[in-house]
Amino acid sequence: MRKLNRVLLTGLLLALALTLALPTTAQGPKGGIILEASFGGDPATFNPLLCTETGCARLIGLMMPGTIGVDPEIAAPARVGENPRVRGALVKDWQISEDGTVYTLTFRDDYFWTDGTPVTAFDYKFAWDAIVSGQTDTNLGYVQDVIASVEAPDATTAVVTLHEPDCNALLYIGYIQVIPSHLFSNDFTQFNDNPWNFEPTVTAGPFTFGQMRSGELVSLLANPNYVDAELGYVNSEGFIYKNVPDATVMVEQFLAGEVNLLDSPAVNRRSDIRAAAETGAVQVYAYPGNAWDYMTYNLANPANPQPGLDENGNEIVQEPHPIFGDVRVRQALAHAVDLEAIIDGAVFGEGTAMASTVIPASWAFDETLEPYPYDPAKATEMLAEAGWVDTDNDGVLEAQGALYAEDGTEFRFTLYTNEGNTRRAAVGTIIQDELSQIGVAVDFQTIDWNTMLDIMYAQTYDAIILGWRQGYPDDPDFTQIFSIQSDVPGSGDNTGSYHNQRVVDLMREARRVPGCGLEDRAAIYAEYQRIVKEDQPYMFLYAIDGMYAASSKVEGWNPYPSNMFWNVDAWSVMP
C-alpha cells in the first residue's frame, strides 16, 4: 500500500511538473526566419569602424550593440532603461561637466560578447584609439572634429572630452561603436585585415553571424544570450539578408512571399504593395522619408575651377558662373519648376516638396517655410530683371545687361544626372521641359556614375541632379558640404563653390546653444533655412516618402521611421 502511495505521489508530481513545463514550452521562441531583400552587393566588412555602406550597417546593427541608446519614437538619444523602447545600447547613463566639454559615460556591466568576454568601456576606448591611430581604413575620422580624447579609467566608465561644447556630442559619441578588442592587436597593424572583419564570430547583439554566401545572402542566427530581449529570448530563428539586385524582382519576390521584409521599395511599385496590404497579405508603414533629391548649381566658373582657400588659408575670389553666379537667376528658376509635377512624375506622388536642406521629418524643419511657388510668369519677369530676355525671338533667352554673362550669351546650360536612375532621369526631363517654356535651353544628359563624379568633383559642370540621405537622429548640419574649406576641386564636397559665412556661422551656433534645447536650436536652423532658400545653392526638389513593408506572417513588427528593427528580437515569422 505504501508502495502504491509512493507511485501515485510520484505520478502526481510528474503530472504537476509536466503541467508547469507545458506553458513554458509554449512561451518559447515562435521561430521563423526574417528574410529581407537587399539591393546592394556583399557587405565589404562587418567591422563598424570600417563600414561605409547600407548593407554592412544593417547587419552590424543586428549583431552589435550601440553605444548610446536611441528612443525610436522620437529619434533622439536616450538612456537605457528610460523606457522599454531603448534597448541594445551599452551606455546606461552619462554626466556632462559644467562647461559642457566632458561627458562621463557609465557602461552597463551585464553585456557580454558571445564568447563570454564582458563588453566594457575598454572596448570603446580601443575603438577610439583605432580611429585616431592613422593605421586603419576607418571613415570615422570626422569624429575628431568634435571629440578631443577618450579615456577609460575602469571597465564601466569612459570619459569623453570635446574640443568645445557641442549639441551633437552624443551623436558623435554614438558614432564610435565597440568592437571585441580582445580579438585585435593593440598596434592596429592587422586591423584592416583581421578575419573578424569578414567573419564576426564574436558579437553581442540580438543575432550572431551565420554565414555569407557571396552574391547570395548573409545569414544571422538568434543570439540565445541576448540580454535586452523583450521576451527574454530572441523570438525568431534568425535573419537572412538576401541579395536581390533588381528592384522589380525584389517587389515580386516580396509579394510572392519569397522574402518577407522590404525597406524603401521602388516608388513605382508601392501601389502594388498597398493593394496587397488592403487584402491583408502584407503590412505597410509609410513615413516622411530621409532621402531627398536636388539640383546643384555650380556657382563658380566651370571653365576655371578654383579652391575656396589658398595655401595660407586666405579666401580666393573665384570667377562666378556666367549664368548661375547671379542669385536672382537661381531664384527665378525655382519659380519656373513645378515641384508637384515633379513629385507626381518622378516619384509617383511619394514625396514632399522641400525648400532647403532640412527634411520635413527633421526636428529642425521649419514648417512655415514654403518652397517658391510655381509661377513661370514671375520667373520670366525675374529673369528679365536679371538681364535675360529673348532679344531675337528664337525662343531662347539672351543676356542683355546680365550680371556676369556677356551680352548676347544664350541662356543654355548642361544638366547631368547618373545613368540608370530612372527617377532622376524623369526629374531632369521635366526640368528641361519646364525651363524650355520660359526660354531656358537645357542640355540634359544622363551619364555614367563615375564620369559624373569626375565632372562634379572637378567642378567643371553647370548643374547636376543628385540626392542626399539624412541619418536618424537627424543632424541637419551641412558644414561639410557648404564650408569654404570643402571647396577643393578634385576632392572637396562643396563642389558648387557656395560660400556664405552667415550660413556656416549659424550651423556652428546651432551646435553650441547653451542647454542644447531643440526649440532653441530649431530657431537658429530656421534662419539658416531661410537664407539657404534665398541663396538657392541647390534647386531644392523633394524628400522621398519612406516605406517599410512586411509580410503579414511577420509578428511583432512595429516600426518607427528612424528604425524598423528596434524590437527585432521580439519578431517571429509564422510558417
Binding site: G41, S214, E252, E258, N450, T451
Partner: protein
C-alpha cells in the same frame, strides 16, 4: 600536337601581356577613380581623400600602377636597415601622402608572383573574391551552353533537311525573335509568369536561402537553374540552329553526300550519318568563344535572377573602379579566350583529318 600546343602557348604570352597593358591603360583612363567611387556621400575631408589615394597607390602614373600590379612593390619601397621604416624608394615617393612620414615598405608581390592584390571595395584577397563566384558562373554557363547545343543543333539539322518548309520558316522566325528579344525583358516576363502568376518556379537565387550550410547538389535545385538557363540559352539556340542549318546546306552539296545517296543509303543515314557529322566540324570553332563566355559570366541574366556569378561581380567592380578585381577578371577571361581558341584549333584538327598541325 604537344609541340604545337607549347608553341601556341608561348605565342600567347605576348598577347596576354598586351591585353593587360591595354586593359590597365583603359581602366585608369576612365573618368572618376576608385577614391571618388568609394567615398562619395561620406564625411571625408579633401585631405583624407588624398591620403586614401596615396594608400591605394592610385595617384601614381598608370605605368607605375601597372608595374605594381604586375611585379609588386616590394622593390619600389623598401627598408634596407631592418628598422621597420622605409628608407629607399624607386619610381614611387617615399612619403606618398605628404604627411612627413615615409610610407611602409611595399608588400605586394604582383601577379607574376601569384599576388592578385586586395579588392579596394571588398578589402579581401581578389582571388578569394573571384573564386567564390566561379562555381555559380560555371553552373549557369555550362547548363546554358549544353541546352543551346542540344536544342539548337537538331533544329538546324531538321531545318536544313526540310529547307523551305514550315519547320524551317518557323524556326527562322523564332531565331530572329530570340536573337532580338532583350534578355532583361525575357527574364522579367518569365519571372512574372512562372514565379509570380503560376508560382511554380522560384524567382531567383541559386538555391533556397538557409541560415547555415551551402547550396545542395545541383540535381536537388534544378528548379532554381531552369529560368536563368532558359534565358541565357535562347541566344545560343537561335545562333547554333542557324549556323548548323547553313553548315548542313553546305555539306549537302558535297560529292560524298551524292555518293552516299547513290549507294542507296536511307535518307536518315545520309543526313545524320554523313551530312550532320561533317557539318558539326566547323561548330568546333564556336567552342573557344563559348568557353570564354562561360567564365565571363552573364551580368544581365545574373542580375535579373539574383544569380551569384562572376558577371555581376565584374560589372560592380568596373562601376566601383575596383582595379585589382577588374584586372583579375580580365586576366582570367583572356587566358580562357586563349585556351578556348587553342582548344578549338586542336579539336578541329583532331576531328577533321584534312587539317594537320603545322
Amino acid at each position: 600536337m604537344v609541340k604545337y600546343t607549347i608553341r601556341r602557348l608561348i605565342q600567347a604570352l605576348p598577347t596576354l601581356f598586351g591585353i593587360t597593358i591595354l586593359s590597365y591603360l583603359l581602366m585608369t583612363a576612365a573618368p572618376g577613380g576608385p577614391v571618388a567611387a568609394l567615398t562619395f556621400g561620406q564625411r571625408i575631408t579633401p585631405q583624407e581623400r588624398e591620403a586614401m589615394a596615396a594608400r591605394l597607390g592610385v595617384n601614381d602614373p598608370w605605368p607605375v600602377q601597372y608595374l605594381r600590379w604586375l611585379l609588386g612593390d616590394d622593390w619600389m619601397r623598401w627598408d634596407s636597415d631592418g628598422d621597420g621604416v622605409s628608407d629607399g624608394s624607386f619610381l614611387i615617393p617615399l612619403d606618398a601622402d605628404g604627411d612627413g612620414e615615409p610610407e611602409p615598405p611595399g608588400t605586394r608581390l604582383g601577379i607574376i608572383r601569384g599576388d592578385f592584390g586586395t579588392s579596394f571595395y571588398a578589402r579581401r584577397p581578389v582571388l578569394q573574391v573571384i573564386v567564390e563566384r566561379i562555381p555559380a558562373t560555371l553552373e549557369l554557363g555550362l547548363a546554358s551552353l549544353l541546352v543551346g547545343l542540344i536544342v539548337g543543333v537538331p533544329i538546324g539539322i531538321i531545318a536544313a533537311v526540310r529547307r523551305g518548309g514550315l519547320f524551317d520558316n518557323f524556326t527562322r522566325i523564332m531565331a530572329v525573335i530570340f536573337n532580338a528579344v532583350p534578355i532583361f525583358w525575357l527574364g522579367l516576363i518569365l519571372i512574372l509568369i512562372f514565379g509570380s502568376m503560376l508560382g511554380v518556379l522560384p524567382m531567383g537565387s541559386r538555391c533556397a536561402p538557409t541560415l547555415i550550410g551551402d547550396c545542395p547538389p545541383i540535381y536537388a535545385r534544378l528548379n532554381y537553374l531552369l529560368l536563368p538557363m532558359l534565358v541565357l540559352s535562347t541566344g545560343g539556340i537561335a545562333g547554333y540552329s542557324r549556323y548548323m542549318r547553313t553548315a548542313m546546306l553546305d555539306v549537302i552539296g558535297q560529292d560524298y553526300i551524292r555518293t552516299a545517296k547513290a549507294k542507296g543509303l536511307r535518307p536518315r543515314q545520309v543526313w545524320f550519318g554523313h551530312a550532320a557529322r561533317n557539318a558539326l566540324i566547323p561548330l568546333a570553332t564556336f567552342l573557344g568563344p563559348a568557353i570564354t563566355g562561360l567564365l565571363g559570366g552573364a551580368a544581365i541574366t545574373e542580375t535579373i535572377f539574383s544569380w551569384p556569378g562572376l558577371g555581376r561581380l565584374a560589372v560592380a567592380a568596373v562601376v566601383q573602379q575596383d582595379y585589382p578585381v577588374v584586372m583579375a577578371v580580365v586576366i582570367m577571361t583572356s587566358i580562357a579566350t586563349i585556351l578556348g581558341y587553342l582548344l578549338s584549333d586542336i579539336l578541329y584538327a583532331w576531328i577533321d583529318p584534312r587539317i594537320r598541325f603545322d
